[in-house]
């Protein structure tokens, strides 16, 4: 009987070291990145953008530059052709004689 009491007493004396005081803080801090990823933030948006256009993706950057070049080139061509059409119209109206006009003895 006495042995049982002593046995229980010894079991209860089992030591557990003190927990580090900053353990809770460390856990809470470690959980933070996940919170930032779920919501939209301007910083996160900028990070995503910089990840897309940063140097380690030269192929993507080249494609973007090429597409921009082709687009601006097409804009220039179409504007130029419109100007040309207008100019041609003006010239022909200037050069071609209008027969309905009475030019008198010169005819």
């Amino acid at each position: 009987m006495r042995e049982d009491v002593l046995f229980d007493a010894i079991l209860r004396e089992r030591h557990v070291p003190e927990m580090p005081t900053n353990l809770a803080y460390r856990i809470i801090e470690a959980a933070k990145p996940r919170g930032a990823e779920t919501g939209f933030t301007w910083t996160a948006f900028q990070r995503v953008l910089s990840e897309i256009f940063v140097i380690p993706q030269p192929a993507f950057a080249m494609v973007v530059v090429l597409m921009l070049g082709v687009y601006s080139g097409m804009q220039y061509t179409s504007e130029q052709s419109m100007e040309m059409t207008v100019a041609r119209a003006n010239l022909s109206s200037f050069v071609v004689a209008d027969l309905s006009v009475d030019y008198g003895e010169f005819q």
Partner: protein, 196 residues
């Protein structure tokens, strides 16, 4: 703004499931000490127990849907299962802990070297004896004796019947008693004299 400090664990978990970091912080602050102690009792390694409890809480944060309130279990009972399983996984990957590692955790604030030596020896022997128990016996002892869970709760955590748990407890205590008796720890006066 809601006062999370007064909310129950179960209602805080509903907030955690919505990604509420403040609710998670309250849960961690409220329970970290208890589960750190539980993890330590399972593995007898201070660093390992910190890792276990951190991993368990981060698991809860990253997969809060693991907690299913419809099952009606208390948060702490459910979380003991997470911590216990993580500790068992870690222990299986690790070799047995030398008793010398266990007794190094004591501070130097003891009154005399003799008392300190005696305490170290006693704790080292006790920890060594508990750690040498089979895994399931040790888990049963930790959950029921040290964590104060009911037999039903401990049986649920371990996935065994209450009868099986009681049998594990009886065997664990029997084996421990034999071991401590063999070391002369159950005859207190004689043992203390040997260190004097």
């Amino acid at each position: 703004m809601a006062d999370y400090e007064t909310e129950t664990d179960e209602s805080l978990l509903v907030h955690v499931q919505r990604g509420d970091q403040r609710a998670f912080a309250v849960i961690v602050t409220r329970h970290v000490k208890k589960f750190h102690a539980a993890a330590y009792r399972m593995c007898s390694d201070a660093q390992e127990s910190e890792d276990i409890v951190q991993e368990a809480f981060l698991k809860l944060w990253s997969k809060p849907q693991m907690w299913d309130p419809s099952r009606g279990a208390k948060f702490s009972t459910w979380f003991y299962r997470i911590v216990t399983n993580l500790a068992i996984d870690k222990m299986r990957r690790k070799k047995a802990i030398p008793v010398g590692d266990v007794i190094d955790v004591f501070s130097d604030t003891r009154e005399s070297q003799e008392t300190e030596l005696y305490e170290k020896e006693k704790q080292g022997a006790l920890e060594g004896a508990i750690q040498s128990l089979p895994e399931r016996q040790k888990t049963a002892l930790n959950l029921c004796f040290y964590e104060g869970l009911s037999n039903r709760e401990a049986a649920d955590i371990m996935g065994v019947s209450v009868k099986a748990l009681e049998s594990l407890l009886v065997r664990a205590k029997g084996a421990l008693k034999d071991e401590l008796s063999r070391r002369g720890m159950l005859t207190e006066p004689a043992r203390r004299q040997s260190y004097a």
